[in-house]
């Protein structure tokens, strides 16, 4: 029992010598850092060192080959389009869930999380069926000459599917916290509903919406399971970068896969940083 209080003071006094602390590292820290080191940091290090063995010139050449560039464009533009559309509809759904009472609300509330719970392979399979030319939805747009499954539009739909809950679940809590009194004050001062929404509700909501869009985008960019099934995976048409990495690996082109993987990892770091900054920004409103 004597050691416990001293452990507490040790933690509080940052000035303690390093060696003294080392002997008293709590086991929670040991587990946390060992686990992270072996299962997360070590794999990342393996990727980065493999990439570093590649001369810069050939790295650049592989990373910017026409096929790679086209896959980035397809991946990022499509993922952005999906996240942006969800930015609008996700906010709308969050609004409906927070502000209105209606029949089926609890069902809707639960269903929003479906993309978190449904394995992506199943999502890809059923989206490819429903949006194919003979499917329930695909057959409705087929007469207009629109093909969805096995095209880039299909990839876009799959990306919308998997990124939707990120936006709804990020906006919803902020919307719940929003004080209704401010809106009512705006109305009673003569603002229209639209004015109230744009000038009073939207500004504090914007960081949350952007955070949600960034989270959704980041998830959509890396998506493989649903997209590989719904796309035709034709180069320059609907081949996204994660699938290109997979194909490189299947051809035992480890260097090519590593280079593309490093580019994707870099994007992950950047989006993680952006998400953190956005979250810090939205906290100032909270």
């Amino acid at each position: 029992m004597v050691t416990t209080p001293s452990a507490i003071t040790n933690r509080k006094q940052r000035s303690n010598p390093f060696l003294k602390l080392l002997g008293k590292i709590p086991w929670t820290w040991v587990i946390t850092f060992t686990y992270l080191a072996f299962l997360l940091i070590l794999p990342i290090a393996a990727l980065l060192t493999k990439a570093a063995t590649e001369p810069l010139e050939s790295f650049w050449k592989t990373a910017t080959s026409p096929l790679a560039l086209s896959s980035y464009e397809i991946t990022f533009v499509t993922a952005f389009a999906a996240a942006a559309v969800n930015g609008i509809f996700g906010t709308l759904i969050a609004w409906v869930l927070v502000r209105y009472e209606f029949f089926g609300k609890r069902f809707l509330e639960a269903v929003v999380d479906l993309p978190f719970a449904l394995p992506t392979a199943v999502a890809g399979l059923t989206l490819a069926t429903v949006y194919s030319e003979k499917g329930w939805i695909g057959s409705m747009v087929a007469p207009f000459g629109i093909k969805i499954a096995f095209t880039r539009i299909g990839v876009w739909i799959a990306m919308m599917f998997i990124s939707l809950p990120f936006i709804v679940r990020t906006v919803q809590p902020v919307l719940t916290e929003l004080e209704k009194e401010i809106e009512e004050a705006a109305w009673s001062l003569g603002a229209s509903k639209l004015q109230t929404f744009i000038q009073v509700i939207l500004p504090p909501l914007t960081p949350a919406i952007l955070t949600g869009v960034a989270l959704g985008f980041s998830r959509a960019v890396g998506e493989y399971g649903s997209t590989v099934i719904i796309a035709s995976n034709t180069p320059f048409r609907d081949l996204i970068t994660p699938i290109l990495i997979f194909q490189r690996l299947e051809q035992y082109d480890y260097v090519g896969a590593t280079v593309l993987g490093t580019v994707m990892l870099g994007i992950s770091f950047v989006s993680l940083l952006a998400i953190n900054l956005l979250q810090a920004w939205s906290k100032r409103y909270g």
Binding site: T4, L92, I93, D113, T120, L125, T129, M160
Partner: protein, 291 residues
């Protein structure tokens, strides 16, 4: 009540009942609710319904036939084994990390949180690639593993590593806010009364965090059983050997065995339904506990 409609200037007399003003333009909520249902219908509900409708379109017999297949049974076994091993390991890590982060103040706390979140933003394919580069034949440990006759990539251990990687952050993420909310009063009280760390953990902490922890477990399990990309890269997708249920779905679909693919999908979709129901229940419990 007729003057309610007229204009905002009449408002002062109506102020005691502000809700009535909102109720007035009742078509706006209706339209917004309708849009929500249509959008969710197109993107989530119709595709989800399709899984069940297509799978049961010819009754139960295709599913019963599919369940007899040894490769299907092996896929189920493999998926369950992955979850059964990944879950306890990620729980121990998640609880330790949550405790370390929520109960200490230290520089770089935000950074550590971001690092724990990394598996969410790394593409599953890249995660799989990393494991191949580490344990594959040409990887860091490749020659050592080969000389000791240990197979990780294209075998179960690699799939397990991939599963652990992608489902790592859930528990820590769910438990940290609960620990923050809970505060340290009860723990300190227990300590002054002479409880040791272990007793404090089981008798004070666990009862407080149980719903958050369960919630994290449900999410971890869903991800562990459903993971496709990362597992696909490291598995080699060998039928009856390294084919988990999601891989089995894709493989049978590619082989034009659509009926079998849908039979397997129904199992995974049921898992999703159970996950969502548990999630709803646990969410309600957590919000109650926090009140």
């Amino acid at each position: 009540m007729a003057n309610l409609n007229s204009s905002i200037i009449d408002r002062p007399s109506d102020l005691p009942e502000p809700t009535k003003i909102a109720k007035k333009k009742s078509w706006v909520p209706t339209i917004l609710i309708a849009i929500s249902f249509i959008y969710l219908g197109l993107v989530l509900l119709i595709p989800a319904a399709n899984v069940f409708v297509t799978a049961f379109s010819k009754g139960f017999s295709p599913i019963l036939a599919a369940v007899q297949r040894p490769d299907f049974q092996n896929a189920i076994k493999l998926t369950v084994s992955l979850a059964v091993i990944a879950l306890p390991l990620n729980t121990i890590f998640g609880l330790s990390a949550a405790w370390a982060i929520a109960r200490n103040k230290f520089p770089g706390k935000a950074l550590l949180l971001s690092i724990i979140d990394l598996p969410f933003s790394i593409s599953p394919v890249v995660a799989g690639l990393m494991i191949v580069l580490l344990y594959g034949r040409l990887g860091w440990f490749g020659s050592w593993l080969e000389s000791n006759d240990i197979k990780i990539v294209f075998a179960f251990p690699g799939m397990l590593l991939a599963t652990i990687f992608v489902s790592m952050p859930f528990i820590a993420r769910e438990v940290i806010p609960v620990l923050d909310e809970m505060g340290t009063d009860q723990e300190e009280a227990a300590r002054t009364l002479g409880a040791n760390d272990w007793q404090i953990f089981w008798r004070v902490v666990v009862p407080n965090i149980r719903w958050g922890l369960l919630y994290g477990l449900v999410l971890t399990n869903a991800r562990a059983m459903g993971e496709f990309g990362a597992v696909s890269v490291v598995s080699g997708n060998i039928a009856s050997k390294t084919q988990s249920l999601p891989l089995f779905v894709e493989e049978t679909y590619k082989q034009y065995e659509t009926e079998v693919a849908y039979s397997a999908s129904v199992l995974l979709a049921l898992l999703a339904v159970v996950t969502l129901i548990l999630k709803e229940i646990l969410e309600r419990r957590t919000s109650k506990a926090q009140k």
